[in-house]
């Protein structure tokens, strides 16, 4: 499950993420991070479901972070899509591929919601959710 963590100024100085990793023993992966002096936003991938995921989420919340579960990222309008491929190679995590018929396949699991594909699509067939 992907989680978006929002840091406020107060909790930016604390090693929240490493605390959670050492407490849960989960190999959490940082997908995207924007940290400034005052605010921070991080997209992480937590390899857990159910109770374990809840535990992770609670730990972050206890540390004062806002936690949002990212379930869906983008949507491809198949009516508009011309199967060109302009979104395929720019995808930095290879979540978008083309099959043997050149139809565009999208792997929600891999997607980090960066939105590069939305801008790359020449016929505006992709939108962020």
């Amino acid at each position: 499950m992907k989680l978006k963590l929002i840091y406020s100024r107060e909790n930016l100085g604390k090693p929240v993420l490493s605390d959670v990793i050492s407490k849960t023993n989960l190999p959490i992966n940082i997908l995207e991070a924007k940290i400034t002096l005052n605010t921070g936003e991080m997209l992480i991938d937590v390899p857990a479901v159910g109770e374990k995921l809840k535990e992770v989420s609670n730990l972050f919340q206890k540390a004062g972070l806002i936690v949002k579960e990212i379930t869906r990222t983008i949507e491809i309008d198949r009516e508009k899509c011309i199967s060109c491929g302009a979104c395929v190679s720019p995808c930095p995590v290879r979540a978008i591929t083309q099959d043997l018929n050149w139809d565009v396949d999208f792997d929600e699991q891999k997607c980090v919601g960066c939105g590069i594909c939305v801008d790359a699509c020449p016929v505006r067939a992709i939108r962020m959710l």
């Binding site: 060109c84 801008d119 016929v123």
Partner: protein, 508 residues
């Protein structure tokens, strides 16, 4: 070529059309013809197959439509006009205009352009027409605002000065910034490769000697029937960059094969579907029609170099590009197309069906398209300012071990914002700005090397000013050190220099 170009040695156009009418013509798509040649050999396949169909569906910026609105009461001699806020060219008669694919909406900008107007017309959507005039004795009306659909128009004629490039250069990006180009989104550090063109389905590559393609060739255009009306602009057939000019009735076309599009931060365009039937009139034409993706090559260029002559990173075949990954410097780089291979196949198949059904006949061109054409660049006459003309030569530099407070005092005393840092030989190794210094003081740092930026964006003295302005915009900086070939600092160029010394020019 010893024989005459276009010689009908295996079969004539009349023979082909006779077979099409009787339903006996053997028509294969280029994909199918390649397989037939593999099975039967070229000679036999050429004898058996009458026509090979091709297809491509890509962004073709040199596209647009001539429109005639008909006369209003009282009539108007339109001086300027807009379709859905997109300006159309009005240097024509009273109610004729040309709407070009790359013209952009004056209210929506990149979001909507001439390509979209054409798609909306073809889809039967209502379009807003606005026009202005100065009023004449014969045309008194001064303005018009109304709506129309394609059915209200006398003529709506797609007329594209350059379509269906035989092949196209592929693109990658060596810089550390993401680039938004007419070749799509290019990730930094050779992050991806984009390419265009249908390779073994590409209409013009399938008759690369231009033996059957000429003025009057009947083609699939935008889902309807169109004609080649001559060589396209920038036609460069001797380097396999041939192009064609085409024309067709927009009223017959379909939005499936004419799609308005936007390249992010580049502009609007039109995806055009083109399919050309290649009559197998002689063995040279057959050999060209049988070329496979792995025999059709193109260069991958570095679009990180914003120059007319971009360096070639690698030569690659269309089969390599279509595989989705290309090796560069021992690394596998993802590649993907900008034109649609899926729709290209669909067009070749549709054209095949039309011919098989007897509804589409071939015709002998009135004149073949030239197979050689000089390809000239535009030389800019007159002297344009270079970096050396604008840069400041009296530069203040520092050494990495200088004390931050001393440096801050120097910056204030000299009134500069950028301080290049050099080694003992005067070679550029870093830079700091007044903002960096402010930050350093806040964080209690002492020496320059603790805070200096090591990856310095620089310029060369013979570069064009516009190139360097764009570089500063990309990196969101306001000055660059100017260095010679061996990285010795020789000056500094700031937005301040540019605005003071080039006042007549606009800086974004």
């Amino acid at each position: 070529m010893s024989e005459e170009r276009g010689i009908e040695k295996i079969r004539t156009y009349e023979e082909i059309n006779q077979k099409i009418k009787s339903g006996d013509a053997v028509v294969l798509t280029a994909d199918e013809f390649i397989k037939a040649v593999e099975e039967l050999g070229l000679e036999k396949a050429a004898k058996e197959v009458d026509v090979v169909t091709t297809g491509t569906f890509g962004a073709m910026c040199s596209s647009g439509a001539f429109i005639n609105f008909g006369h209003s009461e009282p009539p108007i001699k339109m001086f300027k006009c807009w379709l859905n806020d997109v300006p159309a060219y009005k240097g024509l008669a009273a109610v004729d205009c040309y709407i070009g694919a790359t013209a952009m909406s004056e209210t929506k900008g990149f979001e909507y352009g001439g390509g979209d107007v054409i798609e909306d017309l073809v889809s039967g959507k209502e379009i807003e027409l606005r026009a202005e005039a100065y009023g004449t004795d014969c045309y008194p009306r001064r303005s018009i605002e109304t709506t129309l659909t394609i059915n209200d128009l006398n003529q709506a004629i797609l007329l594209n000065p350059r379509n269906a490039y035989e092949r196209y250069n592929a693109a990658t990006n060596s810089t550390d910034k993401i680039l938004y180009t007419y070749m799509g989104t290019l990730l930094p550090h050779y992050g991806n490769i984009t390419y265009c063109g249908a390779g073994q389905l590409s209409p013009l590559y399938k008759d690369k000697g231009f033996e059957t393609i000429g003025i009057g060739t009947r083609i699939f255009l935008g889902g309807g029937i169109g004609y080649i009306i001559g060589e396209g602009t920038q036609h460069n057939p001797q380097n396999q960059f041939g192009t064609i000019m085409v024309r067709g009735d927009l009223k017959q076309m379909s939005a499936r094969y004419l799609r308005g599009a936007t390249y992010n931060k580049y502009g609007t365009t039109l995806y055009v579907g083109v399919g050309i039937p290649i009559p197998i009139i002689n063995e040279r034409v057959a050999a060209s029609a049988a070329l496979r993706d792995d025999e059709i090559f193109t260069n991958i260029l570095d679009y990180g170099v914003p120059s007319r002559s971009r360096p070639t990173v690698k030569k690659a075949s269309y089969s390599e590009l279509k595989s989705g990954k290309v090796q560069i410097n021992q690394k596998e780089i993802p590649s993907s197309s900008l034109s649609s291979n899926k729709v290209a196949k669909e067009i070749a198949l549709t054209l095949k069906n039309w011919i098989e059904q007897g509804t589409f006949l071939l015709n002998r061109p009135a004149e073949l398209i030239p197979n050689h054409r000089e390809f000239k660049p535009l030389e800019v006459k007159g002297r344009e300012p270079k970096v050396r003309d604008v840069m400041t030569r009296e530069i203040i530099v520092s050494k990495p071990n200088d004390d931050i407070k001393d440096v801050a005092r120097t910056l204030i005393a000299k009134g500069v914002d950028h301080l290049p840092i050099v080694d003992n030989e005067g070679k550029l190794i870093g830079i700091i700005t007044s903002w960096d210094l402010a930050k350093a003081v806040a964080q209690d740092k002492r020496q320059l090397h603790e805070i200096m930026t090591l990856k310095v964006v620089s310029a060369k003295e013979d570069e064009a000013i516009d190139t360097v302005i764009r570089r500063m915009e990309q990196h969101n900086i306001s000055g660059v050190p100017v260095v010679d070939q061996s990285n010795h600092i020789i000056g500094i160029l700031t937005t301040d220099d540019i605005s003071r010394k080039l006042v007549r020019r606009v800086i974004a």
